[in-house]
Symmetry: C2
DNA sequence: GGCGACCGTTCAGAATGCACGAACCGATCG
DNA sequence: CGATCGGTTCGTGCATTCTGAACGGTCGCC
């Protein structure tokens, strides 16, 4: 694990919408490294285009990151597969649908399509992160992680409470994740914001790994009466995306680890690399 | 210049739309480093979320890059300032307008608004790179670089010819950049694609540095009759963006280097090396 | 207007962490 | 069933990075 690269990545992660500009001294202070080291990191990253210098000698994120991100999106089967299905979902329900992945133990929202009946959800947004324990997509994603990973995440970030409904104990979380894994979907019942609910379902890639989660966000008063229909809608949509990605299940919510390969020999071999 | 970080950045740059997936052995071969080294780089980058693993053990770009890119866009005054002005430009002319920056000696397109009268320009596109010597925006950006930088870029990448009009000699380039710098705008007269022209102008930040370029792309048969009006339109639009960014010029296309602050002792003033 | 504090940058010595090649393991294909 | 290819691991020696102190420019305060 090359520590120099780790530190470089740490430096990149410092740059947030709230603090998009950093100086050598600040970085050194926050990371607890000597100024000269921080300087070397920043300077190298800037030379590589991952950072750029401001007129006053400080640093901001560089355009290379934009290029890399575009390459990622361009080559990402996930977004290509999910977008049209999300559009149909929004057209049918008029609610907001979101697509998210797990990054570093947190939920990263990758796509968000807003419906005409939808209320504006300010907390989540494309490119934004949220803790995983409180949202529908977060619980889906955590549920398909090894429990030891989940524990490590929780120990690192804690279980921040957004509303009285937010999961606040590890035991509660363990039970909830178990349920989510078995039933194949998750609810967020006003756990991140009072009055806001959502139903979320996992998206599998061709190897059976859960790589993303999709959700329909609905105001509470429209959620509870329609829970069943919402659930089937999001589960079905997520299943269609998974199939688009090359995941052909025999029995659906079954054995989260590696379902294919050994089960019925012929099937897994037909998957193109 | 931390070489480990340099190599990590090199690895990231390998991932392109054409080859979005790499294995350890390939990376080691292309970079000329031992497999174990490539493995360490890839593994670390993946652990940091800058790469992700595919089901078959190879590597693709990771979602962290998407997050960083969104942070960059969110905090970028350039795009915020340019977009509305580009929209008005498109509304007025019905032609395509583009915004580009210089990354690593090449033009990186950052925004592209297509007009209703416009022909589809396939070569350029958001997140795509092109050589700088052949496009309007590229010539504008090069013109405001120190000539030694330009030389280094040309020596590294050569002067690829797209059409008979493409600049193909260093002397030709030097003269053209000199003209562009003095007149404050550049034309691309079918230099990248036969039948396609554009007019481009520089965008300055508050310190007087050229940080981007804007262009109007027009089919040749509409370009030549309207060249004068196109020129004033794009120059004016770019000037408005610059002013939005805090650049208040006294006399406009004048003294490319560092106009404000100090006149005589001006060379080493703003950014120390 | 001059003094001081702050910040980015440079430098040289010291040890730590990376580079390297060989060996391991698992999958894939003939 | 064996051979080849790809990803992974491991231990050692050397070079690279880390460290802390000093430099020089800029800004703000007195």
């Amino acid at each position: 694990m090359l520590q120099t690269v780790q530190k470089a990545a740490q430096v990149l992660r410092l740059f947030t919408p709230k603090q998009p500009e950093w100086g050598v001294t600040e970085v050194a202070a926050v990371l607890g490294i000597p100024k000269s080291g921080a300087h070397a990191l920043l300077r190298t990253l800037a030379a590589e285009g991952l950072l750029q210098r401001t007129p006053n000698g400080r640093y901001r994120l560089g355009w290379s990151l934009f290029e890399l991100s575009q390459t990622l999106l361009d080559s990402s089967a996930l977004l290509r597969a999910a977008r049209p299905i999300m559009e149909r979902l929004v057209a049918g329900w008029g609610e907001t649908t979101q697509l998210a992945v797990l990054v570093d133990g947190q939920v990263l929202y990758v796509e968000k399509l807003q419906g005409d009946r939808a209320l504006e959800i300010v907390l989540s947004g494309v490119g934004k992160r949220l803790p995983a324990h409180c949202s529908g997509v977060g619980k889906v994603l955590l549920a398909h992680q090894p429990w030891e990973n989940v524990l490590a995440i929780v120990e690192r970030t804690g279980l921040v409470s957004f509303t009285p409904n937010t999961i606040s104990s590890v035991e509660q979380l363990r039970a909830e994740l178990e349920r989510v894994r078995q039933q194949g979907f998750a609810y967020d019942q006003e756990e991140v914001m009072v009055g806001l609910c959502c139903a979320a379902a996992p998206i599998y890639d061709e190897s059976g790994q859960v790589i993303a989660a999709m959700s329909l966000s609905v105001p509470a008063y429209r959620f509870y009466p329609n829970r069943q229909r919402l659930t089937t809608a999001i589960v079905d949509a997520a299943r269609r995306v998974s199939e688009e990605l090359g995941y052909y299940q025999e029995a659906w919510p079954w054995e989260n680890g590696k379902p294919s390969r050994s089960r019925s020999s012929g099937l897994a071999t037909s998957v193109p690399t």
